[in-house]
Symmetry: C2
């Protein structure tokens, strides 16, 4: 933490001048994917299980922030909770590729100095977010992929997933279902999979630093080494102390083409608008007009949280600078 000390007086001064929050204010937001989530398709029990896990994850992250831990630390630990749950399409709950495997992507970014780490297509890493963070902190590179990324992981004692760790009967049925549709109806995976189960976390710590982290199993029945937006810095994940931290979930191809996470930050920096307005515009105007489904979670430089999405639901939770907890699944709650 030593190296952050010089930042504190500056942050305090600027915040006192602008009459905004004090530097101690922390906040965090998380998502567990967006898509066609409707109340009538979910039992009250299922709903409760999701809400409980979202609350558990966001509360852990918030506790770490309150203890003075960095935003990077808080988003890492929060994502690990979501990766370790079979409920979400990331880590343990990752969907199957066309070949019946699992290819995991993740990324993390530190808004303080724009350090970043990303990994694509790893098959045996238990917590891809820890590998993304390792790449950020211990390599000269930002983005590693495939077998090579795993080689790097094992060199640094990243935890391997045990055999069968990613096995999941329900996900496997999803794969068979999608493959059947692909074979007989020539529908692309894109159009058969209406739930984008990526997980993400964004936070502002007590030093005023922002961080964003995203992790995913990608798209059911993906093939040809497809990389989505989650490990693409600027598309599915971005953090910059001067504007905001963003993690995205949705139809990744659109999020890459529209540079969604970085575009929200750019609008804040260059149009002098707040992060909520910028995120709403990108998700509900730009992306919606282009046909791109999904959502984002955003925390800005003052800790304000927004979580817009243009689908019928997004698993989400936040604890704002006043300590207020929000947990939601469907639109309009």
């Amino acid at each position: 933490m030593k190296k952050n000390i010089p930042l504190v007086p500056l942050i305090l001064a600027s915040q006192l001048l602008s009459g905004q929050v004090v530097a101690e204010d922390v906040s965090i937001a998380i998502h567990g994917g967006a898509g066609t989530l409707k109340r009538e398709h979910m039992s009250p029990q299922q709903e409760a299980v999701y809400r409980q896990k979202l609350e558990e994850a966001v509360t852990l992250g918030h506790t770490l922030l309150k203890q003075g831990k960095s935003a990077v630390e808080a988003v890492t630990e929060t994502i690990k909770i979501l990766e370790d749950s079979p409920l979400f399409n990331a880590g343990r709950g990752a969907v199957y590729t066309y070949n019946g495997e699992h290819e995991l992507d993740a990324s993390i970014m530190d808004g303080k100095d724009r350090a970043a780490g990303a990994v694509a297509g790893v098959k045996h890493v238990k917590n891809p977010i820890t590998l993304a963070r390792l790449i950020m902190e211990k390599s000269d590179h930002v983005f590693l992929s495939g077998d090579g990324a795993e080689q790097f992981a094992w060199l640094h004692d990243i935890e391997r997933a045990s055999t069968g760790y990613f096995d999941n009967e329900q996900r496997y049925k999803q794969l068979l279902d999608v493959k059947e549709k692909l074979a007989f109806q020539q529908i692309s995976p894109v159009h058969t999979d209406y739930k984008f189960g990526t997980v993400g976390a964004v936070a502002r710590d007590s030093q005023g630093n922002l961080a964003a982290a995203t992790s995913t199993g990608g798209m059911t029945a993906k093939r040809y080494g497809r990389i989505g937006d989650s490990p693409v810095i600027g598309a599915g994940n971005f953090a910059d102390n001067q504007s905001c931290a963003v993690s995205a979930t949705g139809h990744g191809e659109f999020f890459i083409r529209y540079n969604v996470a970085a575009d929200i930050c750019a609008r804040v920096r260059y149009q002098n608008i707040d992060a909520k307005t910028a995120a709403d515009t990108v998700i509900n105007q730009v992306l919606k007009e282009a046909g791109g489904e999904g959502g984002v979670i955003v925390v800005d430089s003052k800790g304000a949280v927004s979580m817009p999405f243009n689908t019928s639901g997004m698993y989400r939770a936040s604890i704002d600078t006043k300590g207020k907890l929000t947990v939601g699944i469907f639109a309009g709650e």
Copy 2:
């Protein structure tokens, strides 16, 4: 071309109103990498060979544009010339990975509708830019990688490189040299390789559409499946008719973290400044202060070209809307 017709009257009208160029104006710019290029390290003969190849490539692209071909077509064919030459670190002249292989990355983007295609880590594709374009036009995805991307390539009859096609004695010596330094001095590949030989092209066609394309062999002795900025849409490559088309070359990790190509376009759109000013600011202020070396080529919505870099040289050439050819290697020419 049929689908572009509705755009033409709009473009003409807006351009007539603003008193700018007419829609027929076409322009193109290319780069062949940036880095520590100094006149005293290059014989007049070597210099002439590079200048000739740059002129050949940019002239071909310009001729296609003058014939009414699309910006996408022009940048594809121009990049193929550069990929087919052993002079540049892309296609045939790709550098060696740590394991003595070649892992090629490329991307392309159409500014008209932000369609994009990107490929990372292919080993046997003769012209990676044709694969990036195939992904853009014939897949539901934007970004494919590794063996899977090659599977997709062979399905669509993309040309394979013949055995030994990428062999290059000089590049192999570079690899041995870097590996020696890595072994004995613990210097990272980043700090031993001062020339970033990526190739790129940006163009504006007679319909007013922009396109950007980038192709590279990456970094000598790269390992762990490292992906640089070239295939990362928003980092090494971006195109958007409303602002500009950008292709980058340089220390890729910085270009990813600073979202360089898309940031230049965002500044044009949101700060209402011209593309030259935006590109200069990002390359010579933002990146330079961060320690990121490299440059970009840019063509804006009216066809204006700029080619800033913060290294001692960048292989570059352009033909502007008046038909004026410029070819350069060193700073200050």
